[in-house]
Symmetry: C2
Subunit: 299 residues, 2 copies
């Protein structure tokens, strides 16, 4: 069994994680979290989103967060951008990378952004084009790749089509999101194989949620296919805080612990990551939703 020698860990806790917090996290805590994550050795730290504060109030201060961080050489701080208006704000803040957000499910796209998949891709086209014209890198998310809360199963061909459209539109990397965490290993592998038939596997990322406890097994099975980029969230940030135990993004510490055991290089410091998981969790008034952080304990 062979695995990539190196894996790029993309930290999504400050955006995909914190956006689910009900209580607004102070700007200075968000900025300090991002700086601490970069200091752990993470090469990519998703820093915020230029979306409507009515939709995602927790991200209303993303410009202030970006202004407050201490940018570290060699670290990317992408920002989620849904439309041209968001892109303009990203350009004002001189971000180097944006992310656009598609889905492989028609029902999810309708309920989430009130249009069809095809229409959503049309909306992203000018965003991607203008971003690239301004020298920005664009990352593409595809959600619901292993299941949809409304439709259930999603055909791997639907995932591959959306992924390819975003890739051809100019995304340098496609992040495949198991948004509701229902996928299992064989299906994850089949999905990645279908996408990798159209896009180089080196340009794919795994973005798996751990709702059903399957994320690490699914990541393991996809690493075997050569995928070498994994999204994760410090302390498992991104679960639903109202439903005790219902988890969201796979925890960065748990992913890193597995990767270290496989002999995969990441450049990320596990002890420091665990300490950071306890740091942010204390500020949020709870324990980390990460087995590794809990097993190691607060230092």
């Amino acid at each position: 069994m062979s695995y990539p020698a190196n894996v790029k860990m993309v930290e999504v806790g400050p955006r995909d994680g914190l956006q689910n917090e009900a209580d607004i996290v102070p700007t200075e805590i968000k900025a300090e979290l991002i700086d601490r994550l970069a200091d752990c050795g993470l090469p990519v730290v998703e820093a915020g989103a230029f979306v409507s504060p009515r939709w995602v109030p927790q991200m209303a201060d993303s410009a202030e967060v970006l202004a407050a961080i201490r940018p570290k050489e060699g670290v990317n701080y992408p920002v989620l951008v849904p439309n041209v208006k968001g892109l303009e704000r990203a350009l004002e803040m001189k971000v180097g990378e944006i992310a656009v957000f598609g889905a492989a499910s028609e029902s999810f796209t309708q309920k989430n952004i009130n249009c069809s998949i095809a229409e959503s891709l049309e909306r992203f086209a000018p965003v991607m084009e203008q971003a690239r014209g301004q020298g920005l890198r664009v990352r593409g998310y595809v959600s619901c790749v292993l299941g949809c809360p409304y439709e259930g199963d999603i055909a791997v061909s639907a995932v591959a089509e959306v992924a390819e459209a975003l890739y051809k539109g100019g995304c340098y990397e496609i992040s495949l999101g198991d948004t509701i965490g229902v996928g299992t290993a064989a299906k994850a592998r089949a999905m990645v194989e279908a996408v990798a038939a159209r896009i180089p596997v080196s340009d794919l990322a795994l973005h798996f949620h751990d709702t059903y406890g399957q994320a690490l097994a699914n990541i393991l099975s996809c690493l075997e296919l050569g995928v070498a980029t994994v999204d994760s969230s410090l302390a498992g940030l991104g679960g639903c805080p109202y439903a005790e135990g219902a988890s969201g993004n796979v925890a960065s510490e748990d992913v890193l612990y597995m990767l270290e055991g496989l002999g995969v290089e990441t450049g990320v410091d596990l002890d420091r990551l665990i300490a950071t998981a306890w740091w942010i969790s204390e500020r949020l008034g709870r324990k980390p939703a990460s087995k590794v952080a809990l097993a190691r304990g607060a230092k």
Copy 2:
């Protein structure tokens, strides 16, 4: 990637799980739990232990539990037995199967049962011999197969030696226990390969704890080697109830969810298993320590 067509799920919750509960669980609850687990379709339900009640007070009523259950045709109800005295009690209760408990770590064996590995194997010899002479099946546990709380790393050769000694001594199945849940996928696979060089892989079982969140990934990687027996614990019973979040045995529901996703047959009913996880957890005054049970919720 190929997996076994069928996997035998060995339920250890009523013994390995409940023995960690501080408050004594009433005999009738234990018996009802065992009956409910058998009704879920589990082919093996570990029912108790004939050990000193001073060491494991929770198992003091194992004879009463065995007398109270409603034995189901085709289901095994093994009982842990550390010595000839325990075997005599097992014979009185007419159990069909016992389990003996060894370890691959010298330090763990010394601290746990105050003798060397070699001495522990000598102690088990008459137990195994007499048990088989009476027509009982004997299962062998090896603990600390992926790490020891005192020694750290454990050589795969040490695991293979103890496993082979128990197998040659008459155990029909060897259950390989990651007692402290520190193992990762590549190491789990290397360990199983080392043992499978001496014992048919069809006679091996995986007994992994989920302390570091790695259990499902490790099981997945060992299923790929052909192991077709997996120990697990309903609702993740067996964590340390004092350390919130510190988990023990991998949860049966999480294992079954993965196996169903892989198309592996088990004969176990997932919905019924989840309902049983909520049932016992309510009796213990907490939520299940199983992501699948939490995600699906109590019905």
